[in-house]
């Protein structure tokens, strides 16, 4: 199982449709301050079901929809898809390519899809349950968050081990 593609549209600073193809191995994402690199990590966390606007550096969930610039209008919805190679059937679903999609409209309506079939958030989190991926695991580390693993209070650290155990 590996990530083949991320497709973003109207997500944070990504006004138009943007596609990132990935091979196996290591891919670096580089660019100037404020260009939108961390917004890509936020998009992956969001499509996997993130419910906290604060974890996505916003104050309300609508903050993830492209808000416009001095020269461009805002948009009415955002959509992000993860395209995953499932040749090895690591995800318990009969497709060899699995597409997870989340959409949010300005009126607050939110939709989830697996391979273009409407589903609930529970279906997506259920799919990834034992893979280590998902907003709870250690597979996505946000900017400045690496220090949290050593967090100050010993009882906070406890959570790490329960998670992993």
């Amino acid at each position: 199982m590996h990530l083949k593609r991320i497709e973003l549209q109207g997500f944070k600073s990504f006004a138009g449709k943007t596609v990132l193809e990935f091979d196996k191995g290591i891919t670096c994402v580089v660019g100037p301050n404020g260009s939108g690199k961390s917004n890509i990590a936020d998009a992956v966390r969001w499509v996997l079901g993130e419910q906290s606007a604060k974890q996505l550096r916003g104050s309300k969930m609508l903050d993830v929809i492209f808000a416009g610039t001095q020269f461009r209008k805002s948009v009415g919805f955002t959509e992000v898809s993860l395209v995953i190679d499932n040749e090895d059937q690591a995800l318990p679903i009969e497709y060899t390519e699995v597409v997870i999609t989340r959409r949010l409209y300005r009126n607050g309506d939110s939709e989830y899809y697996i391979n273009n079939n409407t589903c609930r958030l529970k279906d997506i989190t259920g799919l990834f349950l034992d893979t280590g991926i998902g907003k709870e695991g250690y597979s996505i580390i946000g900017q400045g968050q690496i220090h949290e693993i050593l967090s100050a209070k010993s009882e906070d650290r406890r959570g790490i081990f329960e998670e992993a155990a």
Binding site: L3, L20, I26, C28, F71, R72, A90, I141, S154, A164
Partner: protein, 155 residues
């Protein structure tokens, strides 16, 4: 429950020490339950000793030593609970140039099992990657992505 927790805890402890030694090229590291009698509720202490230094309180470590220790613990956890892909956003920012290269080499030894997406500003990481994406804002406030396939780089 208790038995499983203790077993897994010991596995992470051993892996943490091994990864720490590999990244720091020596020294030792371990995790301990603060209260051994109450395994299921106890907090966890992290005790590390960079090569040649005395065993010290985590607080006295430098910014870079703390980040590198956190990275060692992260890898120990990922070894126990491997993930098919990982996205790391500037986790190596506090490291000096030599440690960034050790970090990048370590990740390279791992890439058969796990796919990595590294958001970074560091040359050491870029030089050890298989492919590269550039994110720009040619139009103010609007992000665009440009693939900079490594082979183009040499050109």
């Amino acid at each position: 429950m208790k038995k499983v927790f203790i077993e897994k805890f010991e596995i992470i402890n051993n892996k943490f020490d091994r990864v720490f030694k590999e990244l720091f090229e020596g020294g030792r590291a371990r995790i301990e339950l603060v209260d051994g009698d109450d395994v299921l509720e106890s907090g966890v202490d992290i005790i590390v000793q960079p090569p040649g230094k005395k065993l010290q309180n985590m607080m006295l470590l430098s910014g870079g030593e703390k980040a590198f220790t956190a990275i060692a613990l992260l890898f120990a956890i990922l070894e126990l609970n491997p993930s098919p892909f990982c996205i790391f956003d500037e986790i190596e920012a506090a490291l000096d140039d030599a440690n960034v290269i050790r970090f990048a080499e370590y990740i390279n030894s791992y890439k058969e099992k796990t796919q990595f997406i590294l958001i970074t500003h560091r040359k050491g990481s870029m030089e050890h990657s298989d492919s590269l994406y550039g994110v720009t804002m040619q139009e103010h406030g609007v992000s665009k992505v440009v693939s900079m396939k490594m082979s183009d780089q040499e050109g």
